[in-house]
Symmetry: C2
Subunit: 216 residues, 2 copies
Amino acid sequence: MSEIVLHNYFRSSTSYRVRIALNLKGLDYRYVAHHLRHGGNRSPEYLAINPQGLVPTLVWHDGTVIAQSMAIIEFLDETQPEPPLLPADPAGRARVRMLSQMIACEVHPVNNLRILNALRSRYGADDAGIAEWFRHWVNETFQPLEAMLAQSPDTGTFCHGDGPGMADICLVAQVANNSRFNVDMTPYPTIGRIRDACMALPAFADAAPARQPDAE
Amino acid sequence: MSEIVLHNYFRSSTSYRVRIALNLKGLDYRYVAHHLRHGGNRSPEYLAINPQGLVPTLVWHDGTVIAQSMAIIEFLDETQPEPPLLPADPAGRARVRMLSQMIACEVHPVNNLRILNALRSRYGADDAGIAEWFRHWVNETFQPLEAMLAQSPDTGTFCHGDGPGMADICLVAQVANNSRFNVDMTPYPTIGRIRDACMALPAFADAAPARQPDAE
Protein backbone atom coordinates (compact mmCIF):
# COMPACT_ATOMS: atom_id res chain seq x y z
CA MET A 1 0.00 0.00 0.00
CA SER A 2 1.06 3.55 -0.66
CA GLU A 3 1.59 5.92 2.19
CA ILE A 4 -1.06 8.23 3.63
CA VAL A 5 -0.41 11.89 2.82
CA LEU A 6 -1.77 14.80 4.84
CA HIS A 7 -1.67 18.21 3.18
CA ASN A 8 -1.81 20.65 6.04
CA TYR A 9 -0.43 23.67 7.84
CA PHE A 10 0.88 23.65 11.37
CA ARG A 11 -1.29 26.51 12.62
CA SER A 12 -4.54 25.50 10.90
CA SER A 13 -6.87 24.18 13.58
CA THR A 14 -8.70 21.97 11.09
CA SER A 15 -5.33 20.44 10.17
CA TYR A 16 -4.64 19.99 13.87
CA ARG A 17 -7.88 18.03 14.24
CA VAL A 18 -6.89 15.57 11.55
CA ARG A 19 -3.37 15.14 12.94
CA ILE A 20 -4.87 14.17 16.31
CA ALA A 21 -7.26 11.69 14.68
CA LEU A 22 -4.45 10.07 12.69
CA ASN A 23 -2.36 9.81 15.84
CA LEU A 24 -5.22 8.33 17.88
CA LYS A 25 -5.70 5.70 15.17
CA GLY A 26 -1.99 4.97 15.19
CA LEU A 27 -1.58 5.79 11.50
CA ASP A 28 1.70 6.99 10.05
CA TYR A 29 1.46 9.65 7.39
CA ARG A 30 3.61 11.91 5.28
CA TYR A 31 3.35 15.54 6.31
CA VAL A 32 3.12 18.00 3.41
CA ALA A 33 3.10 21.62 4.54
CA HIS A 34 1.25 24.42 2.73
CA HIS A 35 1.94 27.85 4.08
CA LEU A 36 -1.46 29.59 4.16
CA ARG A 37 -0.08 33.07 4.66
CA HIS A 38 2.29 32.78 1.74
CA GLY A 39 -0.22 31.35 -0.72
CA GLY A 40 1.48 27.97 -0.78
CA ASN A 41 -1.91 26.34 -0.95
CA ARG A 42 -2.73 28.07 -4.26
CA SER A 43 -0.07 26.27 -6.28
CA PRO A 44 -1.27 24.51 -9.45
CA GLU A 45 0.01 21.22 -8.05
CA TYR A 46 -2.11 21.54 -4.92
CA LEU A 47 -5.18 22.87 -6.72
CA ALA A 48 -5.08 19.74 -8.87
CA ILE A 49 -5.50 17.72 -5.66
CA ASN A 50 -7.95 20.06 -3.93
CA PRO A 51 -9.70 22.61 -6.20
CA GLN A 52 -10.50 24.73 -3.16
CA GLY A 53 -6.87 25.12 -2.20
CA LEU A 54 -7.76 24.74 1.47
CA VAL A 55 -6.13 22.53 4.08
CA PRO A 56 -6.34 19.86 5.29
CA THR A 57 -6.61 17.32 2.49
CA LEU A 58 -6.03 13.63 3.12
CA VAL A 59 -4.79 11.34 0.37
CA TRP A 60 -5.51 7.79 1.43
CA HIS A 61 -3.44 4.69 0.59
CA ASP A 62 -5.56 3.99 -2.48
CA GLY A 63 -5.45 7.55 -3.83
CA THR A 64 -8.84 8.60 -2.46
CA VAL A 65 -8.74 12.35 -1.84
CA ILE A 66 -10.81 13.78 1.02
CA ALA A 67 -11.11 17.41 2.02
CA GLN A 68 -12.98 18.83 5.01
CA SER A 69 -11.59 17.84 8.39
CA MET A 70 -14.81 16.43 9.81
CA ALA A 71 -15.38 14.25 6.73
CA ILE A 72 -11.81 12.99 7.08
CA ILE A 73 -12.31 12.13 10.75
CA GLU A 74 -15.55 10.24 10.03
CA PHE A 75 -13.74 8.37 7.23
CA LEU A 76 -10.89 7.40 9.54
CA ASP A 77 -13.36 6.18 12.14
CA GLU A 78 -15.27 4.09 9.61
CA THR A 79 -12.21 2.50 8.07
CA GLN A 80 -10.08 2.15 11.23
CA PRO A 81 -12.60 1.36 13.99
CA GLU A 82 -10.16 1.13 16.90
CA PRO A 83 -10.03 3.11 19.08
CA PRO A 84 -13.46 4.57 18.26
CA LEU A 85 -13.81 8.34 17.94
CA LEU A 86 -17.60 8.08 18.27
CA PRO A 87 -19.57 6.02 20.81
CA ALA A 88 -21.59 2.99 19.69
CA ASP A 89 -25.13 4.17 20.46
CA PRO A 90 -26.94 6.59 18.12
CA ALA A 91 -27.85 9.04 20.91
CA GLY A 92 -24.25 9.13 22.09
CA ARG A 93 -23.00 9.56 18.54
CA ALA A 94 -25.45 12.42 18.07
CA ARG A 95 -24.23 14.07 21.26
CA VAL A 96 -20.58 13.86 20.22
CA ARG A 97 -21.34 15.14 16.73
CA MET A 98 -23.43 17.96 18.22
CA LEU A 99 -20.60 19.03 20.54
CA SER A 100 -18.13 18.77 17.66
CA GLN A 101 -20.26 20.81 15.31
CA MET A 102 -20.82 23.55 17.85
CA ILE A 103 -17.13 24.22 17.31
CA ALA A 104 -16.76 23.11 13.69
CA CYS A 105 -19.87 24.86 12.33
CA GLU A 106 -20.16 27.88 14.62
CA VAL A 107 -16.85 28.97 16.09
CA HIS A 108 -14.12 28.05 13.69
CA PRO A 109 -15.73 29.13 10.39
CA VAL A 110 -16.35 32.71 11.50
CA ASN A 111 -12.90 33.08 13.05
CA ASN A 112 -10.62 31.55 10.47
CA LEU A 113 -7.91 33.40 8.63
CA ARG A 114 -9.84 34.28 5.49
CA ILE A 115 -12.72 35.79 7.47
CA LEU A 116 -10.41 37.80 9.69
CA ASN A 117 -8.58 39.04 6.60
CA ALA A 118 -11.90 40.05 5.03
CA LEU A 119 -12.84 42.03 8.13
CA ARG A 120 -9.56 43.91 7.78
CA SER A 121 -9.78 44.58 4.07
CA ARG A 122 -13.52 45.31 3.82
CA TYR A 123 -14.25 46.99 7.11
CA GLY A 124 -10.90 48.27 8.25
CA ALA A 125 -10.83 46.11 11.36
CA ASP A 126 -7.62 46.55 13.35
CA ASP A 127 -5.84 44.01 15.55
CA ALA A 128 -7.94 44.89 18.58
CA GLY A 129 -11.17 44.63 16.61
CA ILE A 130 -10.15 41.29 15.15
CA ALA A 131 -9.32 39.93 18.59
CA GLU A 132 -12.61 41.16 19.98
CA TRP A 133 -14.54 39.54 17.08
CA PHE A 134 -12.69 36.27 17.65
CA ARG A 135 -13.37 36.23 21.38
CA HIS A 136 -17.02 37.18 20.92
CA TRP A 137 -17.81 34.12 18.78
CA VAL A 138 -15.80 31.80 20.97
CA ASN A 139 -17.70 32.97 24.03
CA GLU A 140 -21.07 32.76 22.29
CA THR A 141 -20.56 29.02 21.86
CA PHE A 142 -18.24 28.20 24.75
CA GLN A 143 -20.79 29.43 27.31
CA PRO A 144 -23.45 26.87 26.33
CA LEU A 145 -20.76 24.28 25.56
CA GLU A 146 -19.37 24.59 29.08
CA ALA A 147 -22.88 24.28 30.54
CA MET A 148 -23.72 21.25 28.41
CA LEU A 149 -20.47 19.50 29.36
CA ALA A 150 -20.69 20.40 33.06
CA GLN A 151 -24.31 19.31 33.42
CA SER A 152 -24.38 16.07 31.45
CA PRO A 153 -23.85 12.68 33.11
CA ASP A 154 -22.37 11.57 29.76
CA THR A 155 -19.33 13.78 30.30
CA GLY A 156 -16.41 11.91 31.81
CA THR A 157 -12.68 12.43 31.71
CA PHE A 158 -13.34 13.51 28.16
CA CYS A 159 -16.35 15.10 26.42
CA HIS A 160 -18.14 11.77 26.26
CA GLY A 161 -17.07 9.14 28.72
CA ASP A 162 -13.52 8.21 29.55
CA GLY A 163 -12.04 7.78 26.09
CA PRO A 164 -11.02 10.62 23.77
CA GLY A 165 -13.10 11.17 20.66
CA MET A 166 -14.26 13.52 17.95
CA ALA A 167 -15.54 16.25 20.27
CA ASP A 168 -12.27 16.30 22.22
CA ILE A 169 -10.38 16.70 18.97
CA CYS A 170 -12.42 19.78 18.05
CA LEU A 171 -12.19 21.17 21.57
CA VAL A 172 -8.40 20.90 21.80
CA ALA A 173 -7.81 22.49 18.41
CA GLN A 174 -10.14 25.38 19.24
CA VAL A 175 -8.58 26.02 22.65
CA ALA A 176 -5.18 26.18 20.98
CA ASN A 177 -6.51 28.79 18.59
CA ASN A 178 -8.07 30.72 21.46
CA SER A 179 -4.69 31.19 23.08
CA ARG A 180 -3.57 33.26 20.09
CA PHE A 181 -6.30 35.79 20.85
CA ASN A 182 -6.07 35.77 24.65
CA VAL A 183 -9.47 34.22 25.29
CA ASP A 184 -10.07 34.13 29.04
CA MET A 185 -10.64 30.47 29.85
CA THR A 186 -11.57 31.11 33.51
CA PRO A 187 -15.32 30.76 32.81
CA TYR A 188 -14.75 27.36 31.21
CA PRO A 189 -13.36 25.00 33.85
CA THR A 190 -14.85 21.85 32.35
CA ILE A 191 -13.53 22.65 28.89
CA GLY A 192 -10.15 23.42 30.45
CA ARG A 193 -10.11 20.19 32.43
CA ILE A 194 -10.92 18.12 29.33
CA ARG A 195 -8.30 19.97 27.32
CA ASP A 196 -5.68 19.17 29.94
CA ALA A 197 -6.68 15.50 30.00
CA CYS A 198 -6.28 15.38 26.23
CA MET A 199 -2.92 17.10 26.19
CA ALA A 200 -1.57 14.48 28.59
CA LEU A 201 -1.96 11.97 25.76
CA PRO A 202 0.83 11.74 23.17
CA ALA A 203 -1.69 11.57 20.31
CA PHE A 204 -2.82 15.09 21.16
CA ALA A 205 0.48 16.52 22.33
CA ASP A 206 2.38 15.32 19.26
CA ALA A 207 -0.20 16.92 16.96
CA ALA A 208 0.21 20.40 18.45
CA PRO A 209 1.14 23.18 16.04
CA ALA A 210 4.46 23.90 17.72
CA ARG A 211 5.64 20.35 17.16
CA GLN A 212 5.10 20.31 13.41
CA PRO A 213 7.94 20.54 10.90
CA ASP A 214 6.64 23.82 9.43
CA ALA A 215 6.20 25.50 12.84
CA GLU A 216 7.65 28.96 13.03
CA MET B 1 -44.10 6.25 21.36
CA SER B 2 -44.25 9.99 21.81
CA GLU B 3 -44.20 12.22 18.81
CA ILE B 4 -41.09 13.71 17.22
CA VAL B 5 -40.82 17.46 17.76
CA LEU B 6 -38.80 19.81 15.57
CA HIS B 7 -38.04 23.24 16.98
CA ASN B 8 -37.32 25.36 13.96
CA TYR B 9 -37.93 28.49 11.94
CA PHE B 10 -39.25 28.57 8.41
CA ARG B 11 -36.46 30.71 6.97
CA SER B 12 -33.54 29.06 8.79
CA SER B 13 -31.63 27.01 6.24
CA THR B 14 -30.37 24.60 8.88
CA SER B 15 -34.01 24.00 9.88
CA TYR B 16 -34.82 23.49 6.20
CA ARG B 17 -32.15 20.78 6.01
CA VAL B 18 -33.70 18.83 8.85
CA ARG B 19 -37.22 19.17 7.46
CA ILE B 20 -36.04 17.65 4.19
CA ALA B 21 -34.32 14.78 6.01
CA LEU B 22 -37.42 14.02 8.09
CA ASN B 23 -39.56 14.05 4.93
CA LEU B 24 -37.15 11.78 3.04
CA LYS B 25 -37.31 9.32 5.93
CA GLY B 26 -41.10 9.51 5.93
CA LEU B 27 -41.24 10.67 9.55
CA ASP B 28 -44.13 12.74 10.89
CA TYR B 29 -43.23 15.44 13.36
CA ARG B 30 -44.74 18.29 15.27
CA TYR B 31 -43.58 21.67 14.01
CA VAL B 32 -42.75 24.20 16.72
CA ALA B 33 -41.84 27.62 15.35
CA HIS B 34 -39.35 29.99 16.98
CA HIS B 35 -39.19 33.38 15.38
CA LEU B 36 -35.49 34.23 15.20
CA ARG B 37 -35.97 37.88 14.43
CA HIS B 38 -38.31 38.40 17.39
CA GLY B 39 -36.21 36.57 19.97
CA GLY B 40 -38.69 33.71 20.24
CA ASN B 41 -35.78 31.33 20.54
CA ARG B 42 -34.53 33.04 23.73
CA SER B 43 -37.54 32.08 25.85
CA PRO B 44 -36.78 30.31 29.15
CA GLU B 45 -38.82 27.33 27.97
CA TYR B 46 -36.73 26.92 24.84
CA LEU B 47 -33.41 27.57 26.56
CA ALA B 48 -34.26 24.72 28.92
CA ILE B 49 -34.36 22.44 25.87
CA ASN B 50 -31.44 23.99 24.00
CA PRO B 51 -29.09 26.19 26.09
CA GLN B 52 -27.83 27.82 22.91
CA GLY B 53 -31.26 29.00 21.89
CA LEU B 54 -30.52 28.18 18.27
CA VAL B 55 -32.66 26.27 15.82
CA PRO B 56 -33.13 23.54 14.80
CA THR B 57 -33.47 21.21 17.77
CA LEU B 58 -34.93 17.75 17.39
CA VAL B 59 -36.68 16.02 20.29
CA TRP B 60 -36.86 12.34 19.49
CA HIS B 61 -39.60 9.90 20.54
CA ASP B 62 -37.72 8.92 23.67
CA GLY B 63 -36.93 12.48 24.75
CA THR B 64 -33.41 12.58 23.33
CA VAL B 65 -32.58 16.19 22.46
CA ILE B 66 -30.25 16.86 19.52
CA ALA B 67 -29.07 20.23 18.28
CA GLN B 68 -26.93 20.93 15.20
CA SER B 69 -28.55 20.08 11.90
CA MET B 70 -25.79 17.83 10.60
CA ALA B 71 -25.75 15.80 13.83
CA ILE B 72 -29.52 15.43 13.54
CA ILE B 73 -29.27 14.22 9.94
CA GLU B 74 -26.59 11.66 10.83
CA PHE B 75 -28.79 10.47 13.73
CA LEU B 76 -31.81 10.07 11.46
CA ASP B 77 -29.73 8.11 8.97
CA GLU B 78 -28.36 5.81 11.65
CA THR B 79 -31.71 5.12 13.29
CA GLN B 80 -33.90 5.08 10.13
CA PRO B 81 -31.68 3.52 7.47
CA GLU B 82 -34.12 3.71 4.56
CA PRO B 83 -33.79 5.50 2.25
CA PRO B 84 -30.10 6.12 2.98
CA LEU B 85 -28.82 9.69 3.04
CA LEU B 86 -25.21 8.48 2.77
CA PRO B 87 -23.83 5.83 0.40
CA ALA B 88 -22.62 2.49 1.74
CA ASP B 89 -18.91 2.70 0.93
CA PRO B 90 -16.53 4.76 3.10
CA ALA B 91 -15.07 6.70 0.17
CA GLY B 92 -18.55 7.60 -1.04
CA ARG B 93 -19.62 8.57 2.45
CA ALA B 94 -16.55 10.76 2.73
CA ARG B 95 -17.35 12.43 -0.58
CA VAL B 96 -20.93 13.19 0.44
CA ARG B 97 -19.85 14.51 3.85
CA MET B 98 -17.14 16.61 2.18
CA LEU B 99 -19.64 18.18 -0.24
CA SER B 100 -22.08 18.74 2.64
CA GLN B 101 -19.47 20.35 4.85
CA MET B 102 -18.29 22.67 2.12
CA ILE B 103 -21.70 24.28 2.59
CA ALA B 104 -22.31 23.55 6.28
CA CYS B 105 -18.84 24.56 7.54
CA GLU B 106 -17.85 27.25 5.04
CA VAL B 107 -20.79 29.02 3.46
CA HIS B 108 -23.66 28.97 5.90
CA PRO B 109 -21.79 29.85 9.14
CA VAL B 110 -20.33 33.08 7.79
CA ASN B 111 -23.60 34.17 6.19
CA ASN B 112 -26.17 33.43 8.85
CA LEU B 113 -28.33 36.02 10.54
CA ARG B 114 -26.22 36.62 13.59
CA ILE B 115 -23.06 37.23 11.57
CA LEU B 116 -24.81 39.59 9.17
CA ASN B 117 -26.26 41.45 12.16
CA ALA B 118 -22.79 41.71 13.68
CA LEU B 119 -21.41 43.19 10.46
CA ARG B 120 -24.12 45.84 10.65
CA SER B 121 -23.71 46.68 14.32
CA ARG B 122 -19.91 46.49 14.54
CA TYR B 123 -18.82 47.71 11.15
CA GLY B 124 -21.78 49.68 9.91
CA ALA B 125 -22.39 47.39 6.94
CA ASP B 126 -25.42 48.47 4.90
CA ASP B 127 -27.78 46.29 2.87
CA ALA B 128 -25.56 46.44 -0.21
CA GLY B 129 -22.47 45.53 1.83
CA ILE B 130 -24.26 42.65 3.50
CA ALA B 131 -25.43 41.30 0.15
CA GLU B 132 -21.94 41.58 -1.29
CA TRP B 133 -20.45 39.75 1.73
CA PHE B 134 -23.05 37.01 1.37
CA ARG B 135 -22.44 36.53 -2.34
CA HIS B 136 -18.66 36.58 -1.91
CA TRP B 137 -18.62 33.59 0.44
CA VAL B 138 -21.16 31.68 -1.59
CA ASN B 139 -19.06 32.14 -4.72
CA GLU B 140 -15.82 31.22 -2.93
CA THR B 141 -17.24 27.76 -2.26
CA PHE B 142 -19.71 27.32 -5.10
CA GLN B 143 -16.96 27.72 -7.71
CA PRO B 144 -15.00 24.65 -6.53
CA LEU B 145 -18.23 22.85 -5.59
CA GLU B 146 -19.54 23.26 -9.15
CA ALA B 147 -16.22 22.00 -10.56
CA MET B 148 -16.14 19.02 -8.21
CA LEU B 149 -19.71 18.04 -9.06
CA ALA B 150 -19.33 18.61 -12.81
CA GLN B 151 -16.08 16.64 -13.05
CA SER B 152 -16.82 13.62 -10.88
CA PRO B 153 -18.16 10.37 -12.28
CA ASP B 154 -19.84 9.88 -8.90
CA THR B 155 -22.25 12.73 -9.61
CA GLY B 156 -25.55 11.53 -11.02
CA THR B 157 -29.05 12.96 -11.00
CA PHE B 158 -28.10 14.09 -7.52
CA CYS B 159 -24.79 15.02 -5.88
CA HIS B 160 -23.85 11.36 -5.44
CA GLY B 161 -25.57 8.89 -7.73
CA ASP B 162 -29.25 8.83 -8.52
CA GLY B 163 -30.78 9.02 -5.06
CA PRO B 164 -31.03 12.18 -2.96
CA GLY B 165 -28.85 12.40 0.12
CA MET B 166 -27.13 14.59 2.68
CA ALA B 167 -25.24 16.75 0.19
CA ASP B 168 -28.40 17.47 -1.80
CA ILE B 169 -30.11 18.54 1.41
CA CYS B 170 -27.37 21.08 2.13
CA LEU B 171 -27.27 22.25 -1.49
CA VAL B 172 -31.02 22.90 -1.73
CA ALA B 173 -31.18 24.82 1.55
CA GLN B 174 -28.21 26.97 0.53
CA VAL B 175 -29.59 27.74 -2.93
CA ALA B 176 -32.85 28.85 -1.30
CA ASN B 177 -30.89 31.22 0.91
CA ASN B 178 -28.93 32.49 -2.08
CA SER B 179 -32.11 33.67 -3.76
CA ARG B 180 -32.67 36.16 -0.94
CA PHE B 181 -29.39 37.88 -1.85
CA ASN B 182 -29.66 37.63 -5.62
CA VAL B 183 -26.75 35.26 -6.13
CA ASP B 184 -26.22 34.77 -9.86
CA MET B 185 -26.56 31.03 -10.40
CA THR B 186 -25.54 31.16 -14.08
CA PRO B 187 -21.97 29.96 -13.33
CA TYR B 188 -23.35 26.92 -11.51
CA PRO B 189 -25.31 24.81 -14.00
CA THR B 190 -24.62 21.49 -12.27
CA ILE B 191 -25.68 22.82 -8.87
CA GLY B 192 -28.78 24.30 -10.50
CA ARG B 193 -29.63 21.04 -12.27
CA ILE B 194 -29.32 19.05 -9.03
CA ARG B 195 -31.39 21.63 -7.16
CA ASP B 196 -34.15 21.31 -9.75
CA ALA B 197 -34.09 17.51 -9.55
CA CYS B 198 -34.47 17.76 -5.77
CA MET B 199 -37.31 20.25 -5.88
CA ALA B 200 -39.27 17.89 -8.11
CA LEU B 201 -39.49 15.54 -5.11
CA PRO B 202 -42.24 16.19 -2.53
CA ALA B 203 -39.81 15.61 0.36
CA PHE B 204 -37.85 18.69 -0.73
CA ALA B 205 -40.71 20.80 -2.02
CA ASP B 206 -42.82 20.31 1.11
CA ALA B 207 -39.91 21.39 3.32
CA ALA B 208 -39.47 24.75 1.59
CA PRO B 209 -39.67 27.84 3.78
CA ALA B 210 -42.72 29.25 2.00
CA ARG B 211 -44.72 26.13 2.81
CA GLN B 212 -44.18 26.21 6.57
CA PRO B 213 -46.85 27.31 9.04
CA ASP B 214 -44.78 30.26 10.30
CA ALA B 215 -43.97 31.55 6.78
CA GLU B 216 -44.53 35.24 6.32
